[in-house]
Symmetry: D2
Subunit: 344 residues, 4 copies
């Protein structure tokens, strides 16, 4: 079986393992206070053109989300998110376990708009009983979203404006950030993210690292005492350098972006094959996740050779599915899949 | 101005004040361990035909909701509720502050159905990643709902069945329970509630008491150590007898139900006047809350003399409003309102 | 049996019941936004000479403590308290349930000193691993303490200084505040409290009200959005005026202080009788709680006629006990007790 | 500088890196459901002679502690621990952030006794107001403790008995478990731990792995839905096999114990050198942490060449320090240190 079911099936890019090997017996300070973390932080600040940003390395995405949100919100405040947002449906209530409500808005292709947020906040603050309702204090978005779509620069800037208007934080979950930055048609870069967001992260787990997310905090209000929160929520890795070293390897010469491009291009090949075959797409994704709608018969045939994820029945004879590529996907596997799709 | 805007504008039924006066200088044990609480508990158990139920007196509805839910759920579990449910939208995130997600389903007239719950649970448990999603462990309903509608006996029994099927608790918020039990067409009584629900409460605050809700726990799994939770969440009244005495007064000779009937009948008079006038109703309520849809002009005229609550614009020239009667509403005030509606 | 076991055995001062009766059928806005609450707030601000303070009325002491602390602290911060402090040992973990650690210091007669707090903070901030330890951000004291002792003006000012030095809040639990203010030798008044503390409260429950605590927030950092927290923690009384009216009655003409003096004087009579009898005192209290150490035989004799609280065995033949007077204690009961002590 | 300041300065045992390399491009299921985790679980169950135990792999110690405690306790329950226990002082309030109080008892050499726990529980349940106090439901111990001492088999069995008597869980933090099992004079093994404890873990982070702790749950009451808690608290590693593979490598042929013996033996050499020099020991440790008390002058000389941790001033001219060895400590470094101590 060839796996296209997720982007965390393999270990890490070989260069990462090599660096771990090379530095293995060095003795360094723990808890992220080693030279590798320091270098990786400086590098990320440079790439973001955000010299005053704080950078923290966490082990995984749920941990990053819950730690940022626990640090940012007072108890009566909540985070607006798309109803499809990872924090709303796929983290076992991690945000609620920190005491905060996720204020879900209906998504369009995994996204929410500044207009929706504006309308929500306007209605909220106009209600005479607003003190009886959770106060919206953060807008959480993921880009790429859970269905592979991207926020444009214009959309981000519009969200920034509505956040400013209602004194809210903008927090971008970048578990697959590289796949977005490398995508065809993308007009967002790291400095734009640093300007628009109070907090965001560069995912490592799904982007070539063994594990790890690099959280960038640009808003000083979120920076204060953040390391306490990391420790309290169980995210302070004793051998913190493992995280610094991985991000250093991925980012110091563009490997992160090269791997992302690789995955995106292969995903686009799958997409083209599906389109040529006449399969509609559930959403227009230009990143490493593709969601064609297959006739049941074709789906069953492909399942005999490939692993991929069911994504909901569309009608009596068609289902949406997800094909996921990654930094580790082999070209020959994609070519095989493309050939098999054509031959259906 | 005559107030029809809520059911907690006045103090308490005069008999309650009289009993407080009569017993004022008695010395009793604190924290609900006095004879009045004991008598009130026995009385409620009898009325519910539930000799093994626990009865606890709490000060208010939000407190009752959060204490029951904190006692019932493990950290990864949540409560299914209508999106209009009080715990979902009007308690400032009280449930999330206990760490639990409210799993909101779309309401119809303030209610959710057994079919909706069944579909939700079926899909939940069929999902391969269910461990990544909050586990539904409770169904929370309010009856009367936030828009005055009622669950029928059949609907409650159907919810009970789906709760049994998926090992969930059924918890009924009865902040206005009396107004429901006394309503025309209601086919539910206290023993039915005790049979169908794992936990429910008889509201006092909106039903003639100064304050107080009587929580009935029929499921032994919810009974263990419940008093700790009351204390921990700030709900253990030092002079607990104030609660016991009020429920004793309301329930020992049917005052609770008489006051509820009074409010319901006056609400139905307002409803009839609206219907005769040709005003549509937002929902079909037979309890103390009525939601006619008024032309803007009529609404403005009535606002000069009465207080009532806006309930959302329906179209460019019509708004829904809420008229709320209570145990304390005076007949002459309702007759005046009815006359004024007719005269519009 | 005559009860000296606590200060919440009876209802409320008759004038309070009378005011409840007189205003019972008035219609007012809910949730503390009525004229009585407004008047009571203004009155308390005047008494405290703190025109910019916020005043909020809560139902009980545990609720007041947990709501203030939840509003004040970020997740990694804790409250320093005496190990005998109410929040540390007698609230079923209410503070921990809000996510915060109580940092307990050894008490002397129920109190902690500025020196202790200074030493704690100094050591804390000098530790290289302070990010791994809960950050002290509040000092919680009760005055009178749980054993009836009082903080002096000088002690409060010293605590204020150390709080300023380490950017901490000073929060005073005044569940029995009146008994302290009225005590012989007390040199603290309400304006001093408002100057020294960021937050404190005037207890009502144990001081002549049916229930209720008046929380005074002098620090603007604690004022923001406080009402959300009240609602979220279940403390927002629908008929909020019940609280405003009670504090208005107690404070508008000094009843609060007169009742406190009454209780203190009777307590001092019990104390004198014990001292004359040669009973040592566990602590030097000048307030309504007295803690003599009795020979077992005398204790048993008194127990046949009076209820009072055991307070720990001192040696093989002696136990400490607590006698508690209140606003409601009758002079003749105290005279009887005094006579019986003399006759032992 | 040669580091003896902690046991997490280096990466991982080379064999672990080699296995990561060998398996790097394999595609496996995520979230701990891969064959390596399965094999490691079976192996641990065998080593523990506990075929029905659940084994879960978590990234770090704080995460393991907070996840087990969040899974085990209801909101009003707390965990008894030594005041020096890691959960009490060195996890930034992680346990309180899950809502639970740590009930600290005074330690002797980092340990608490069954007698202390018995006395605590006896007093607790005898108190008439126990519902107002956090209910002890778990005993948390670490072995080796934070100061390197060990619980004996007899001590563990005595704690088990008192836990049974008061229906409490016994949870052993084994962040340095191997160093304990390999220590001279130790009479505890894995099957004994599995019999005595409801939950415990084998530390990996400080024992030769890059990171990771293997949590063993022997009590079925703790097993239910545990994976939800892992996910909710941010501990579910996407590439879970990284954890399984490391424990497999450490445990399949005894490497874990060999590395532990290595560290312990080197620690004992340092200890002997200190004793020969006449330095008193703060505690009698036979594991990888040693706590000699040094004259200030000697300390300063050693600091010029070695890193180690200050552990508190003992008198005006002496300080306790900690020397820590690990799986990675080089014999020549220890010999150098020993020589330098002798030469002081």
């Amino acid at each position: 079986m060839i796996r296209f079911n997720c982007d965390y099936s393999e270990g890490a890019h070989p260069r990462i393992l090599q660096r771990l090997q090379e530095t293995n017996l060095e003795q360094t300070a723990g808890y992220g206070e080693d030279p590798y973390c320091q270098q990786a932080r400086d590098l990320i600040r440079n790439l973001c053109q955000a010299p005053k940003a704080q950078v923290h390395f966490l082990v995984g995405g749920t941990q990053a989300n819950l730690t940022v949100i626990a640090a940012a919100l007072r108890p009566h405040q909540g985070a607006i998110a798309a109803d499809t947002g990872h924090i709303n449906i796929h983290e076992s209530g991690a945000i609620e376990a920190t005491g905060h409500k996720v204020l879900a808005l209906p998504n369009r292709d995994g996204k929410i708009t500044a207009e929706q947020v504006q309308a929500y906040c306007e209605a909220y603050w106009a209600d005479a009983t607003y003190e009886h309702m959770v106060q919206p204090k953060m807008v959480y978005i993921s880009s790429p979203t859970e269905v592979g779509t991207l926020y444009t620069r214009e959309e981000l800037q519009a969200l920034r404006q509505v956040c400013d208007r209602y004194r809210m934080y903008l927090f971008l979950d970048g578990a697959r950030l590289g796949y977005g930055l490398a995508a065809q048609g993308n007009d967002v870069d790291l400095p734009t993210l640093a300007q628009c967001c109070d907090a965001f992260y560069l995912g490592g787990t799904k982007q070539g690292a063994l594990f790890g997310e690099a959280v960038v905090l640009t808003n000083p209000a979120l920076q204060e005492d953040f390391r306490y929160l990391i420790k309290q929520r169980g995210g302070m890795l004793a051998k913190g350098r493992l995280l610094g070293l991985q991000f250093l390897t991925l980012l110091e010469d563009g490997l992160y972006f090269a791997l992302s491009r690789h995955a995106d291009q292969l995903a686009m090949e799958i997409r083209r094959a599906c389109q040529e075959k006449g399969y509609p797409l559930l959403v227009e994704s230009t990143t490493n996740q593709q969601f064609p709608i297959l006739p049941d018969g074709d789906l069953e045939k492909l399942q005999q050779k490939y692993e991929f994820s069911p994504w909901g029945r569309v009608d009596e004879t068609h289902q949406a599915v997800r094909f996921c590529t990654s930094w580790a996907t082999r070209e020959e596997d994609v070519q095989q899949l493309v050939a098999d799709i054509r031959a259906l």
